[in-house]
Symmetry: C2
Subunit: 412 residues, 2 copies
């Protein structure tokens, strides 16, 4: 089956919005093994939309349009599809009633033009819209089919789930393509690749590495029946985990902060954070997670030397002797945060985020981390490239600190 996408909307051709609907649909179709042959973007112009639909019908089995289903004069997709497919319009009473209801429930009076959205090409099947007024439409054209969705992403996604997904599952559901992502921290891309090299070259499943800022992703993709696919992915995941061990921190959308928060909550362990260069970023990421008040006792942004001494009890002499960015000060900050806050774990980050403040001995990107627990205090030094930039270095430093907490928890 060959699919084609048509995005309708002058705002797309003016660059006012980015076409994320196309990405969403392309990914969905790929997951069902359906090839997307092409995508066209056209403005709100009847003749151009009609031509785009005609071109798509000349070369594709499945055509999916997004946009142009609204109530205004500019919304021309239904008309264009009807023209291209040679179908007359009919009034769809159920949709008209649903639109009237939609307004009534909100205590508003619909303007007459809204009922344009109840006109459908003859023979079309309606997918009711639960989040708006424009219905989705399934228009059979001989052996081909056109799906039409509104351009508002939330409405489009709801209608795709209700109408397109079941249709795909019925037709191509016994041959699916599914992906799973393993997320890795604390190991560089080249080392990851070296460890899993022989597993990367399979045909089914495939394993593709992707370097992200502060993590590496391995995307496992398998084809086959739904049951086969799960088995293939599970075996690949087990093989990769065997090679990579604790470096694998999560699966799919799981973030490093979510994993750390889960471990802390599960084990009932409290945490205090001392930050210099990351200045709140680490604490802020940990508290993205609902329920983080269960473990986070306090955070200290000790940006100045004075704050390190006053708020964390770091000895002024230690800073004078080793500098604020040093193993010694990182350890004292972690211990100070732990002691002051009465937490089970104290973690600290101090480094040079740049763009200024670097020296040959302590360049921009140098970061010292430390973690203090009842088993003692440990430090670690990392050097990120200055080319990562201030925001990049701060992100990488927070990431390294999260991973330090995670590994320390796994060891216990």
């Amino acid at each position: 089956m060959r699919a084609e996408l048509i995005s309708v909307g002058t705002e797309l051709l003016l660059g006012q919005i980015t076409d994320t609907n196309a990405t969403y649909l392309a990914r969905l179709l790929a997951s069902y093994g359906v090839d997307v042959l092409a995508k066209q973007t056209v403005g709100d112009n009847l003749e151009r939309v009609r031509r785009a639909v005609s071109l798509a019908l000349a070369r594709s089995d499945l055509v999916i349009t997004t946009g142009g289903l609204g109530p205004t004069e500019d919304d021309l997709t239904v008309e264009a599809v009807a023209l291209a497919a040679g179908l007359p319009f009919v009034h769809h009473e159920e949709t008209a009633v649903r639109i009237a209801d939609f307004f009534a429930r909100r205590g508003r009076t619909p303007v007459a033009s809204v009922f344009r959205q109840a006109r459908i090409p003859s023979g079309a099947q309606v997918i009711p819209n639960r989040k708006g007024t424009a219905p989705g439409l399934i228009v059979p054209v001989g052996r081909q089919v056109i799906f039409m969705f509104p351009g508002v992403p939330a409405e489009m996604e709801g209608l795709v789930a209700d109408g397109l997904v079941p249709w795909l599952a019925e037709r191509v559901g016994d041959q699916v393509i599914r992906s799973r992502v393993l997320r890795i921290a604390g190991m560089g891309e080249s080392l990851v690749e070296e460890r899993v090299q022989d597993l990367v070259h399979g045909a089914n499943p495939t394993v593709a590495p992707l370097a992200k800022l502060g993590e590496v992703h391995l995307r496992i993709t398998a084809k086959g029946s739904p049951a086969t696919v799960t088995g293939l992915m599970d075996r690949a995941e087990a093989g990769l985990r065997e090679r990579l061990g604790d470096a694998v921190f999560g699966v799919d959308d799981e973030t490093l902060q979510a994993v750390v928060a889960r471990l802390l909550i599960e084990r009932g362990i409290s945490l205090a954070v001392a930050e210099s260069c990351t200045a709140g970023l680490l604490t802020s990421r940990l508290t993205e997670i609902p329920g983080s008040s269960a473990f986070l006792v306090a955070g200290f942004v000790a940006y100045s030397n004075e704050a390190k001494v006053r708020d964390l009890g770091v000895e002024a002499g230690l800073i004078a002797a080793h500098g604020a960015v040093s193993t010694e000060v990182a350890m004292a900050m972690a211990e100070g945060a732990r002691a002051r806050a009465g937490a089970r774990i104290g973690v600290a980050v101090t480094g040079i985020a740049g763009p200024d403040g670097g020296t040959p001995a302590k360049p921009v990107g140098l970061v010292h981390l430390a973690i203090a627990t009842d088993a003692g205090t440990r430090a670690s030094e990392v050097r990120f490239g200055a080319e990562a930039g201030r925001a990049g270095i701060r992100h990488l430093a927070a990431q390294a600190a999260l991973n330090l907490i995670r590994l320390s928890l796994l060891e216990r």
Copy 2:
């Protein structure tokens, strides 16, 4: 002049990446008043790319391709364009030398296939690539012209600046469309619209409001010669500022934290931050700005009541009497942070970010802010809708705190 965009790359049709290049180019062309008629996306397939280029040449004056200029067998755009335009290939020695240099400077040996990128359609003009190996190309086809750019956004943007922008400036430079965005904080969209209503309905310049999370943007767009356009925008900006006063905090890409940091640095005023619900987000945003150590003395994430008492000197009785989310505790936190850190200004945020922890009297989204200066302490209470979600409420609370600091500085 009618333009058409062609994005080449199977990864786009698989939904692995979103086509932000098209948005970038569309916006640029719109700013020069060039209409984009259509956009096509095709995979890495010679015949399909050729057909897309032929279709574009049949209806558009200016065709811009992105992607498919790399060194691999999959990179077919040059070949497809040459076929569609009926042009033979020639070897471009200067590009070959530049590619060899690119590798030599990095101490690497190029593989032979890299020199595929030195083949160009006969008559094409080369735009040297300063960030990679694939050059940009300008291919005249009769009275039409095809621009070709690599798909890597940073390379594409560099080549567009070097090759397409001067070309557009020369051809359509006497009729430009330019935009300027005024950024507004602390005033809701409907109030902004009410205040500037009569200025929104002009034809040239146009003024379009856009609600963002925690700010409102007014986009002023003017058409005409470069000199006229600047005058039109300046007058519109002056009119809008007259109606909105201090609510306008910045222009174009200026963030609220950048404005606050600039004011603090210019005036040599130090700041201490006390955060509960935002838990580091406010401090982290303020320290995004290089040089923020000049003003930020310390930040306290006092998530628990104990931390509020211990680290900020809030009286336990005050929390017991009014609750941690209250005007009284916000004021005590701001005063405590200011006193502890010895800063000129102390600012505090305490609120209920949710999803849990709300009550009828203190619902999710309730946030108390306070600012302590040598002129005394002021508090403000805001209620964000729970539907903004935990991340949204935290962002809105940090935004409100930044605006509180800004307004306090402007008053001095």
